[in-house]
Amino acid sequence: MAATATGPFGFAPAIAVFPLVAFVITLVFGRHLPKKGALPGILATAGSLVVSVVMFAAVAGGGEHHTTLYEWTSGAATSETMVEGIEFTFGILIDPLSALMLVIVSLVALLVHVFSLGYMNAEGETGLRRYYAELGLFTFSMLAFVFADNLLMAFMFFELVGLCSYLLIGFWFRTESAPSAAKKAFLVTRFGDYFFLIGVVAIAATFGTVGFAGEESFVTAAETAIDDGTTLFGFDAETWVTITGLLVLGGVLGKSAQFPFHTWLPDAMEGPTTVSALIHAATMVAAGVYLVARMFGYYALSPTALAIIAFVGGFTALFAATMAVVKDDIKQVLAYSTISQYGYMMLGLGVGGYVAGVFHLMNHAFFKALLFLGAGAVIILMHHEQDMWEMGGLKDKAPVTYYTFLAGALALAGIVPFSGFWSKDEVLFDALAVGLEQPVILAAYAMGLLAVFFTGFYTFRMVFLTFHGEPRSAAAEDPHSVGWAVKVPLLALGTLATVAGFANLAPVAELLHADITFLEFWLDGKYGAVEGLTYHAYHETVAFEEGVIGSETTTMLLSAGLSLGLALAGAFTAHTLYNVPEPSRHTTKLGGAYRVLKSNYYQDEYQVWLAEGLTLPLARAADRFDQTVIDGVVNGTSTISLFGSDRVKRIQTGIVTNYAALLVGGFIGLLLVLGYLGGWFA
């Protein structure tokens, strides 16, 4: 807690407070405001962006900020590691990671607010006051989550963003599907958060602290415990760290839509596309991955947990990419690609590639927000038609949308030199390096690599179907026009998606031996950082060995070439199949696999079965138990009490001789008991 609240960091709380104020203003006065409350949101997010940039600059200038704002409760309990007392606080931690994330979140939030003017206001949606209020609340929660300095505070805002997500998915609550999707998203993520909460409690009970940073953090405490060989709750320290880490990971998997909790995200596309861009692509879904990065020091202590993260990430990347291949709805494709891309980030973090993971997180935020907003623009163009088979030939009619969308697609597919290439390549390189020593990681790497091909394929399938060929419907013949509010965010994000990769040109740096891996320096605390929360510190902690094929440079080039080649192969396949004037579905080529893919590997089915076939009967049984046994006991107690009361009442007969007899009888009873105990009759 070196930094005090002076200087630029004194303004840190404002980052979150601005959107909160906007939320309140919109909620109270939204009806009377011009643009139905969009303006407060835009101003607030712009303000947040400015302050975030100031923070970013301050960190770049060698600063860092860690302070406690408010202690809301404290306890005196002694933890497992003999720490006396525990404090639960709200605090702010601004280090390179959170400063970067603050800029990303507030930037995307600002752009989405602006885009909403075109997407929501111009389209004459109703309920805009609610929409902007909820966006404001979301932005507030997300920003507060990002700068949270302890796990409990993070959890609270994690839940709050979940709530906002629920509200916004169900924005069109009069339809049948939106409320259902909202509930699904809420329940699935809540299921993961349940483990998260247990994890928070376990960590608090174990280490007596929930802080992320500093000497008092649970990360440091866990490290000490492992070094000392302490036994925690009957496990040795490392196993216990793994267990608690995996519990927290439950929340991460739910929020970041990783297998098997990914099923809610495609359904969440029922929300407005702007919401999908902001929440279900760029920011909230990133919260899970961000949390792993935030407490990376903790996961770094447990190779098992890391391996699980990596494997789940790699698997999800491939798994989701295959499903995206057969989707017809443009937003569905993007949804599955989002799941897949977060799989890459998890893979990157899981193999100890902290920089790679965060790098991809950043790039993905830009290009996926771009793609979603682009999809939003397409939807406007198409008069709210989302089926790609109804589109086609939009390339010439909406050039801005097309070129920005293309930039995003190239980034997503991982084509050099767009941003996605650099970060995905780095993830895969890190995975390969570790994988050469660890078979499990190698498998994860292989899956990630294979997913590159599918990514390239579905991305360009989407591009070709949407923009190329001949128009396949009346709407596509005569698209609706889009305004500046749509184009400006697209252009801004398009630029970022193109150039953001230059923040960390690791392969180039390796080849030219130039110091241009800025993001690595940034995260390594070259400019300013909280001690212990740096890439180097993490790297030393991670127990993985790294191998090379030939030399490091060879390995890197091999990895980069492989992934680029696969991506191009995918794109080329898509080109062959779909970049024709009259594309056909080509579904028969997939044979039986088509049905499986189209049904999303029956993930929903088994989860519905879990809910209906397993949980529901269990709940019924529990209900029956409650109705009969518990209620029976409760009712029985009252019946017995009342019956007893009735009996007791009858002792009072009203006849005074009975009283005298009972009185004397009672007295003699007491006398006998006491006399027996006291031995008076001996």
Partner: protein, 512 residues
């Protein structure tokens, strides 16, 4: 303060003032027999009880009876026949407060009543006895005070001579009372026989030194102690000596029920606290009689609170419900004696005393509300009380306060005293199974009690009235007493610090 210059016997002033008030009332009645000048009679009684209260409070504040200050210590009167210490003054305050409330309320209740002067003088005489009991330090004075309390009480219960219920209740009360007094006085004689002394401190000295043949008379002494407990149990309406209470409370005029269930009960408890902490030091007594006498109180407490609450649960008659609830509360307070064997027992006793003070307000208030209902003539059962809140929101609000406070619902004082009793009990019960059972019984019974207390509140506030009522009169005296009791029930909470300190100090002083 001028206390220093006063002769020692003036320390009994709170009781003496009451005695004087009773005589003045007799004189007034002698001068003008069958006077119906209610203002004069009631005013005299109220003035007497208030001055008694004022003097007792003044003494407490001035530090009479407080230990550790020069010249202010415990005052012995007539060679230790009476003692004025914090405990005595604390209970004198409770008694004076209840007496004041009851006499104020009686002003309206006794409208058109034949025996005005007799009523007030008997009330004040009984209060004198109770006040004396608080200061009595010898089995003889205790017995005299006990009888001085009991005899007017019998007459007061039966004072509605044309009401069969009242007369029947009075006779039953008298018969059970006579039996209990006999048992008590027999106990006194046995204790005297075993120890050769009637003065409490001397009894303790004998027991501790083991002088004479006391060591061989364990059974005799034990029986004597048990009989003394019987006498106490009668006064406090504890099982199995409780039989008079439901009948007497139901039959008696409501202010008298309030008086008996609050003040008389408090007097019974001060008697118990005094006798058992002073005369029978635990270790010495246990060594002689072979059994820990707190066990008796533990048994009595459990049985009393359980029986009281269970019997109250299904009563249809409000006054009878309150009567049983009052038995239940006696059970709670008995815990204070049952816990004396444990470490921290003095704190439990202090908490029990606090509960008595709070109880003095809330229970008196509740009975006075019943008096108000009798004054209105609305009937006696829960159903008759349905929807009264529409007509008399203030009084019914006060009644709700009493009920919730009796049930121990926060934030009312009854909650705090019961909570304190419970926490202190748990603290003391560290390794004492009996006390843990007591704590469990306390919790279970409190939960049950909420049922029937809230039933009454529900009747008052939620149920629809059975028949349309005209506007209800608002008798000044009754209203004033009920509202005053309600206000005290609420504001005793902020004042809880000083009250708690006073009770804890008093308890610690006698236990030590």
């Amino acid at each position: 303060m001028a206390v220093l210059e006063l002769p020692d016997w003036m320390a009994l002033a709170p009781a003496l003032i009451l005695a004087g008030t009773a005589l003045v009332l007799f004189l007034i009645d002698s001068i003008e027999p069958h006077s119906t000048n209610r203002t004069l009679l009631s005013g005299t009684a109220v003035a007497g009880s208030l001055s008694s209260l004022a003097v007792a409070v003044w003494f407490t504040v001035a530090g009479v009876g407080a230990t550790g200050i020069e010249n202010y210590g415990v005052i012995d009167i007539m060679n230790g026949q009476f003692v004025v210490d914090q405990l005595a003054l604390y209970f004198m305050i409770i008694i004076a407060v209840v007496t004041a409330l009851v006499t104020v309320a009686s002003y309206d209740y006794l409208q058109d009543h034949t025996y005005q002067a007799e009523y007030y003088s008997l009330v004040v005489l009984a209060a004198t006895g109770m006040s004396m009991m608080a200061a009595s330090n010898s089995l003889v004075t205790i017995f005299i005070a006990l009888e001085l309390t009991s005899l007017p009480s019998y007459a007061l219960v039966a004072i509605l001579k044309d009401n069969r219920g009242s007369v029947e209740a009075g006779l039953k009360y008298f018969l059970i009372g006579a039996l209990s007094s006999a048992i008590f006085v027999y106990g006194v004689s046995l204790v005297y026989g075993a120890t050769g002394s009637l003065q409490l401190t001397r009894i303790a000295t004998v027991l501790e030194s083991g002088d004479g043949a006391v060591g061989e008379m364990g059974g005799l002494l034990g029986l004597g102690i048990l009989m003394l407990i019987g006498g106490v149990a009668f006064k406090t309406a504890s099982v199995p000596f409780h039989f008079w209470a439901p009948e007497a409370y139901e039959g008696a005029p409501a202010p008298i029920s309030a008086f008996l269930s609050s003040a008389s009960k408090a007097a019974g408890f001060v008697l118990a606290f005094r006798v058992f902490t002073t005369a029978f030091p635990l270790e010495a007594t246990t060594g002689i009689i072979g059994v820990d006498w707190t066990l008796v109180f533990a048994i009595l407490a459990i049985v009393t609170m359980t029986l009281g609450n269970f019997a109250a649960a299904t009563q249809e008659n409000v006054k009878r419900m309150l009567a049983y609830s009052s038995i239940g509360h006696a059970g709670y307070v008995l815990i204070g004696l049952a816990a004396l064997s444990a470490d921290g027992g003095d704190l439990v006793m202090g908490a029990a005393m606090m509960h008595l003070l709070v109880y003095g307000f809330m229970n008196t208030g509740a009975f006075l509300f019943v008096g108000l209902a009798e004054y209105w003539g609305v009937g006696r059962t829960f159903e008759d009380y349905n929807g009264l809140a529409e007509r008399a929101p203030f009084a019914c609000g006060a009644m709700a306060v009493f009920m919730f406070s009796l049930a121990g619902v926060p934030p009312f004082s009854g909650f705090w005293s019961k909570y304190l009793l419970y926490t202190e009990l748990i603290n003391a019960a560290a390794d004492n199974t009996v006390l843990l059972v007591l704590a469990a019984a306390l919790v279970i019974n409190s939960a049950l009690s909420l049922y029937y207390y809230s039933r009454l509140v529900k009747a008052l506030w939620i149920e629809e009235p059975l028949l349309d009522r005209d506007r209800l009169a608002q008798p000044t005296g009754l209203y004033a007493a009920v509202i005053a009791a309600a206000v005290m029930t609420v504001v005793l909470l902020p004042a809880f610090g000083p009250v708690a300190d006073a009770a804890l100090e008093a308890a610690a002083a006698v236990v030590a």
